[in-house]
């Protein structure tokens, strides 16, 4: 975020409707007329484009524009919220009136002098939609399709898609925040269906981040996504039924970090802990993981999918240590929950759009590397499972129970990798699972840039990561050996 970004955001969001700073002050003034602690205006414009390939041809491109303003008035634990998908003065004043209805009496609060946070650029303030010619986008998808089909005659179908989003946000609040961010985000997905002797299987791969589409031209990245999707589909052709029951599980590096996201990440979000609804509530300072585990949430990594120069409340993102050598030492906070808990925001206030309220959300959540050689970790297991790839997961914050589904996994027998197994859900208990981490690899990896996190019906892009981990006891939900 810098002066240029703020100027560009104002030009894009405010200038078309002739909105000036005095209009924003007037709207904040309306919000602050009751017993209001804080008021905020959030302007957003999102342009999105996607292209999809099927049957070897790019059948369709689509484009969307969304813009609007969301306004909040906060009084104690109460929030009044309204939004409009028209950024014009009458609509702004109308939604400010509606949101202010939460607090009708009491003293007027004052708007603090606006200031801009320090300059930061974790990603370029570009429009990624224009970082490649349309013809080149089509050609890129076709190249991936052809290259993937050429690799194996068992390929029956390739679906590939390319998406680019530019999000421009401008936040101004009674706390004195006046800040903007321009956020590019690109993503490519490939899925492959293979068939062999009447058996069909599917493999997926994807990647991306906060940069231009030209990323996919570099180092054959696009073709590698196709190769990886194919590899996973072919592995599935060989899969045997998954075992059922509790066993030692070795998780591969990178995307399997979805374990951390589900098992402990959500449980450490400030809202659940303020309300006491999380299984981790009131446990700061307690031992919740083995000494080998140090876990952070870090929104400041260059170009990462979960990274942000500032969160959606204008607070700069940071690296927050959640667990240090097994000890619970921090929650992730937005401004509302931070204020009510008497701490500072950690820059984790995020919202899907102007039409949604900010919530404490993760950015990039990962475990720091440990002392073990990954090969040594697999070799240490007599009987268990090695799981290098996962689908999504889910957690029950209150009971702490979480699941995630292994999309690629192998049996381990006497320290050796064996046959791949069919898809299986793994289930565990968040507050206790990390106490069972007995080995941590030296091979920290972050995911390829595909994570989407859902909470209260809101989706936001996130990152996860971890080194290879050995967990002595997770329940594997297969069908074999019951």
């Amino acid at each position: 975020m810098n002066d240029v970004t703020l100027k560009d955001a104002r030009r894009s969001l405010l200038a078309p409707a002739g909105l000036e700073d005095n209009h924003l002050e007037a709207a904040l003034g309306k919000l602050l007329r009751g017993q209001t602690d804080a008021a905020e205006l959030y302007f957003q414009a999102v342009r999105q484009e996607s292209w999809s390939l099927e049957d070897g041809i790019v059948k369709e491109g689509s484009h969307s524009i969304e813009r609007g303003v969301g306004v909040r008035a906060i009084a104690g634990e109460k929030t009044g919220f309204a939004y409009s998908d028209e950024i014009v003065l009458p609509a702004l004043m109308q939604v400010a009136d509606a949101a202010a209805a939460i607090s009708r009496q009491g003293q007027h609060a004052a708007v603090k002098a606006w200031h801009q946070p320090a300059r930061r650029a974790l990603y370029p303030a570009i429009d990624p939609l224009t970082t490649m010619e349309d013809a080149a986008k089509v050609e890129l998808l076709q190249t991936v399709d052809q290259a993937t089909r050429a690799l194996d005659s068992r390929v029956k179908q390739v679906n590939a898609s390319l998406a680019a989003v530019q999000e421009i946000v401008l936040v101004c609040s009674s706390a004195g925040v006046y800040a903007a961010d321009i956020r590019p985000l690109v993503r490519m997905n490939v899925s492959v269906i293979v068939e062999d002797n009447g058996q069909r299987e599917q493999g997926y791969s994807g990647g991306g981040g906060r940069f231009g589409l030209d990323y996919f031209l570099g180092a054959d990245r696009a073709q590698e996504l196709g190769e990886e999707a194919l590899r996973q589909a072919l592995v599935s052709l060989e899969a045997v039924p998954a075992p059922a029951g509790e066993m030692v599980v070795v998780l591969g590096p990178g995307w399997p970090g979805v374990l951390l996201h589900e098992a402990i990440g959500h449980g450490l979000e400030g809202d659940f802990n303020r309300k006491g609804t999380s299984a981790f509530a009131g446990r700061l300072g307690e031992k919740v993981a083995s000494d080998l585990c140090t876990i952070v949430d870090d929104g400041t990594l260059d170009g990462r999918r979960g990274s942000l120069n500032m969160d959606d409340e204008g607070t700069p993102t940071q690296q927050t240590t959640l667990i240090e050598k097994g000890k619970l030492c921090g929650y992730m906070q937005d401004s509302l929950n931070a204020r009510l808990m008497g701490v500072a925001s950690t820059g984790n206030g995020r919202r899907q759009s102007f039409a949604h309220l900010p919530l404490p959300r993760m950015t990039n959540t990962y475990m720091l590397p440990g002392p073990h050689d990954p090969q040594e970790i697999i070799a240490s297991v007599d009987k268990g499972l090695y799981a290098p790839n996962f689908g999504g997961g889910q957690v029950d914050i209150t009971s702490g129970k979480f699941v995630f589904s292994a999309s690629e996994a192998y049996l381990i027998t006497n320290g050796e990798l064996g046959a791949p197994i069919k898809d299986a859900t793994l289930i565990g208990d968040g507050p206790s699972v990390l106490n069972k981490v007995t080995m941590v690899g030296d091979d920290l990896e972050l995911d390829a840039g595909v994570g989407v996190c859902g909470k209260d019906g809101q989706s936001v892009p996130v990152g996860v990561g971890q080194p290879t981990l050995r967990i002595d006891g997770l329940t594997v939900g297969g069908t074999a050996g019951a």
Binding site: E54, D55, I57, K59, G61, S62, H63, S64, I65, E77, K78, G80, F81, Y83, D85, E86, V95, A98, A99, A101, I102, D134, A135, K137, V138, K156, N159, S191, I193, R200, E201, Q202, A244, G245, E246, K275, A355, G391, G392, Q394, D396, I397, T398, S399, K401, F402, V403, F404, S405, K422, D423, A424, T425, I427, D429, T475, V476, G477, T479, A482
Partner: protein, 443 residues
Amino acid sequence: METNLDIEPLREHVDDVLKQAREQGATQAEASASLGAGLSVTVRMRAVETLEYSRDQGLSLTVYFGKRKGSASTSDLSDAAVAETVNKACSLARFGAADECAGLAEAARMATSSPDLDLWHPWSIEPAAAIELATECEAAALDSDRRITNSEGATVSSHSGARVYGNTHGFCNGYRTTQHSVSCAVLAQDAGQMERDFEYSVARHRDDLDAAPHIGQEAARRAVERLGARKLGTRQVPVLYPARLARSLFGHFLGAISGGALYRQASFLVDSVGQSIFAPLVSITEEPHIPRALASAPFDDEGVATAPRTLVANGELHGYVLGSYYARKLGLESTANSGGVHNIVVSDTGRSFGDLLADMDTGLLVTELMGQGVNPVTGDYSRGAAGFWVEGGTIQHPVSEITVAGNLKDMYQHIEAIGSDTELRGSVRTGSVLVSGMTVAGS
């Protein structure tokens, strides 16, 4: 709250973009415009937590230049944004490849009449009244049991929407709908264990909502009953899916018989019309015209008239779920399912929920399913679960941190009974379902 949403301005937007698309040379075009408004209040621990007003609008356009297609949408309905949207759709179409199956649904299939489905019942509830109702709902939960120690709150919401769809066949029609809900989620705590559960009611007409105190009490009862949960040893047993979870079993079925999945061969039910994919006791219909139902619609997202039909009779599959594009790809006709299904009704076998528990005798009554855990290509099924262990037809104790697994093809054949306790809160209407031969994994 704004409840008098007018159809006419939406019709004008649709007509306008179709005209602009034709002027740019599109040979066919289709557009939809929507407007929605709502109010939602949440009360937590007997105090107001949020008061939210929503108002959403949108316009989306698909253009065809011969067999080339482009799409664009906008939430900004200013002339400039609409013009940009039309330009964008047209320019994207130029880069797409020609696709023989692209185009509007057949003109002869357009809905010619619009049955009144009784979907529009605005509830002009003021925030103060909504807060009172939510407070009453949560209080019923908090006061019902001393083990209810905390709450995620009770929410009352009311939403009204209008949508118009039109295309260059000359079809242009729209209708208005309302949807109201009351929900409550609370936490029960005992002996160091904490469990959460919820209850909700949703309806087109506020008079069809369950009483707020009843919703609160049900949420509390469900949360308290989960206390004392333990793991279960790994075993093969029958599993009883109560109606509200049984819907998901048919959701997987609908996904597997939808056009895109079938055409990509990303389905475990490819080429299965005419085959017995369920036990003979299972029959399933689609009934799009049930008055006030949550998934009723006079026409689909392409203007194709909806009509009642049989999907499964005595276990045998009679048809797929198709919009016009994948219907053409598969050499079939649209089944008026562009945009989704319209009230899927699963016949029951005349057994009450209590009968089903007795029929199961020993097995798992599942009350929560977690994660995705379904492979659409193979039908392999493995999901996280919580519920109750049942012996002799009687609930013994709650269980959690377990998985239930099988393959959907086998599970559908192993449906032993369907209860008469039909769930109405969604697009799939089914009673509880008893499935034999599942693998439960635990400690």
